[in-house]
């Protein structure tokens, strides 16, 4: 997980135009993110290549070319001055390669592409978000390279305190940085079969205000949290719509919600994020225990 100092950062390179975006974006974050070592990883997807590419000599040539390409991409950016390593693997499943490196190198943050228009299914990013225990930063190719407006999503779960602390720290480290927080409220319609919409909204408002003041008291936070109603939308859509309306550059959220039942899985909101378009980078916080210590 991201700490104040000396973070190990892993960047997923897929040899598409996205790679340069990730490199440039991370360079823009150097003011707020202290980096110990960078790892650039590309896994050669052998299963998608014909047999003539799998000959040892050709493979080693491919590896060499991949490394050269990444080095070129680093040439003119601030990242080049930081200690880094370029890794080219040939694991059968790319997620295994990432998992191994993340564990072995004690990676704090993994940076992944969140393709909006570029070709690619985005399936690997989704898998890695589920699998890895490091924090995840999803970067769309349409992102604003110098983030200024940061949005924290507070759901009063165990991640919320870290969302707040990190958001505030980031915004202070960026010139003209601004941090704001929202809580997305959604009514469980099945409980209110006999009620009209205004009654449901009133109940929801009361419940949200109670949770909000309890949470603010518990963590002694004096900030303001705006409540956004999801109405018929999925919570993920509501967050992204808010981010788009207010031109947010980065969204920070916990990987799971506050519902104890869904804690067994990756959160529904995180999962849903991948299916919607966004121009904001999304920072998904995963491990909370270390932070509490």
């Amino acid at each position: 997980m991201i700490t104040k100092d000396n973070n190990n950062v892993l960047i997923a390179m897929d040899m598409s135009e996205m790679d340069q975006v990730l490199v440039n974006y991370l360079s823009g974050l150097l003011d707020v993110l202290s980096i110990n070592k960078l790892f650039f990883l590309h896994n050669i997807r052998l299963r998608e290549l014909p047999s003539e590419f799998k000959h040892p000599s050709t493979l080693s040539k491919i590896k060499e070319r991949v490394k050269e390409r990444i080095m070129r991409q680093l040439k003119d950016v601030r990242l080049a001055s930081i200690s880094h390593e370029i890794l080219v693997e040939t694991a059968e499943f790319s997620e295994n390669a990432f998992d191994q490196i993340a564990k072995h190198e004690r990676i704090d943050l993994v940076i992944l592409g969140n393709k909006q228009h570029l070709e690619g299914s985005g399936a690997l990013s989704q898998k890695l978000t589920r699998l890895l225990s490091s924090d995840i930063l999803l970067v769309p190719e349409t992102v604003f390279i110098q983030p200024k407006r940061i949005l924290g999503t507070i759901d009063f779960s165990k991640y919320s305190n870290r969302v707040y602390t990190l958001g505030e720290a980031f915004s202070k480290g960026i010139p003209d940085g601004r941090f704001s927080c929202i809580h997305v409220a959604k009514a469980p319609v099945h409980f209110f079969l006999g009620l009209n919409q205004s009654e449901i909204n009133r109940l929801l408002q009361e419940e949200t205000e109670a949770k909000k003041s309890k949470w603010l008291r518990q963590y002694q936070i004096e900030g303001k949290i705006e409540t956004v109603r999801a109405d018929g939308k999925h919570i993920a859509s509501a967050i992204l719509a808010h981010a788009q309306n207010y031109k947010m550059d980065m969204i920070i959220m916990g990987v799971k919600g506050s519902s104890s039942l869904t804690n067994l899985f990756v959160g529904g909101v995180t999962n849903e994020i991948f299916h919607h378009e966004t121009n904001a980078a999304i920072l998904i916080l995963k491990d909370y225990k270390v932070e509490q210590n």
């Binding site: 409980f191 018929g232 999925h234």
Partner: protein
Amino acid sequence: MVKKSILNFKINPPVFYCTIGFVFLSILLCLIFKDSVDEWFTRTQYIITDNLGWFFIITVNTILGFCLYLAFSKFGNIRLGGEEAEPEFSTVSWFAMLFSAGMGIGIMFFSVAEPVSHFANPPREVLDSSRKAIQAMEYTSLHWGLHAWAIYSIVGLALAFFSFNHGLPLTFRSLFYPFLGEKIHGWWGHAIDIFSAIATLFGLSTSLGLGVQQMNAGLHYLFDWNMAISTQGILIFVVTSIATLSVVSGLDKGVKLLSNGNMVLAFLLMLLIFCLGPTLSILKSFVQNVGTYLANLVEISTWNDAYQESGWQNKWTVFYWAWWIAWSPFVGSFIARISKGRTIKEFVLGVLLIPALLTLLWMTIFGGTALHMILHGDLSMITAVNDNISTALFVFLQKIPLTAILSTIAVCLVAFFFITSSDSGSLVVDNITSGGKEHTPALQRVFWAFLQGGIAIVLLWGGGLNALQTAVIIAGLPFAMIILLMCYSLLKGLSEAHRKQLKKQRLHQEKSYKEIVQGLLDSNDPIHDRE
């Protein structure tokens, strides 16, 4: 079409008045011919089931087959609400809501009585006791398993598809749009809505009638109250009043509390019986029951008593099929409302499997425990069921430790199920008879709640369980035909949607990974970007 009339009611006049007219006429005939009404119910039930039992059986089997076809066909990937729609509830919450839809008064009333009754009066003659018990659970599983949920699933699916994907109002006439076209706005549409409103009213009234009989039985066991129609009438009135109180006075938290309370109490009761009863035997029999049910599904679901003609099937299987069909507008509307954003495959498999498995678990825990007692020599359960089916649960609870606590939970649970069924049921009938208008006055829903209660009282008074069963079978018959037509209509609608989907699919030339790697190898300039 929607007009305001007396008391500012927002109604669709032809549907509203015809439904009320039919209901009042039925009640009036019951009151006028009070002496002969019981006999009339028995005779009518006999005529319909004896002559048209095969039709109900073929209908439900067709529906189950159709559901499975849709799930695994080319339509399986069509998303309810369009390609961009997203599920409003997470899968876990959706499952929880489907569970709650599966819980109802029926599982309280029949879970002990039905397997015991099938054991005592087997549908098909078998000599061995253990074989009798297996058969009893097999038929109970048939009645409460996949077929019931297939009916709800197909009605819910059709409602969701035409409402979310075609933007039509969430009423039954919408389901016939591909079939009837603009005629759905005329008398054809009115007729369909009238049939669905009547089916819902009688289906609900039957459940309320069963529920109140059982509440009375519980209170008789707990506090020695009289078992009489008058007591049941008062109970219906009191519980309906409590149910409507929440809507009128805005005690909205009550509805939430009851919905949660229902689930918690039901699981608590099930867990207590599971722990206090023969736990190991329950676990073993659940596995076996599910297995034998699935293995013999085709045989038992098409068994038509053709060579024996014992009349058993009319009393049980045909009644259940008609009951589920009459309930389908109610449960279907609820399922449709919570399922936007699901694919057809997800929808059908979720609605078929999850609640069916839970209901079978419930039936095994209650019925299986009762059968376990009988097989170990305690035959008093058979006498209790033969004596009065509504008291069977409480006789059963007397044989389990913590009887007083369990009986109190059971009575509360029946009352809670009664209240939530009455509340949600009146909302569904109100929705149909108002032409899908959302913000109808609370008094309008109260009116339907009391009318349902009224029907239940009259039916109980007219002929008890027999009358309730006949009313459901009469109401279910026309609606069974409507559901079959609806399947055809749904198929037409889905084919159209599938064709549109294919047309919209863009020929997307993906740049393959192979091409990227080939580019790297070919180029001397590693930073070369390939378009």
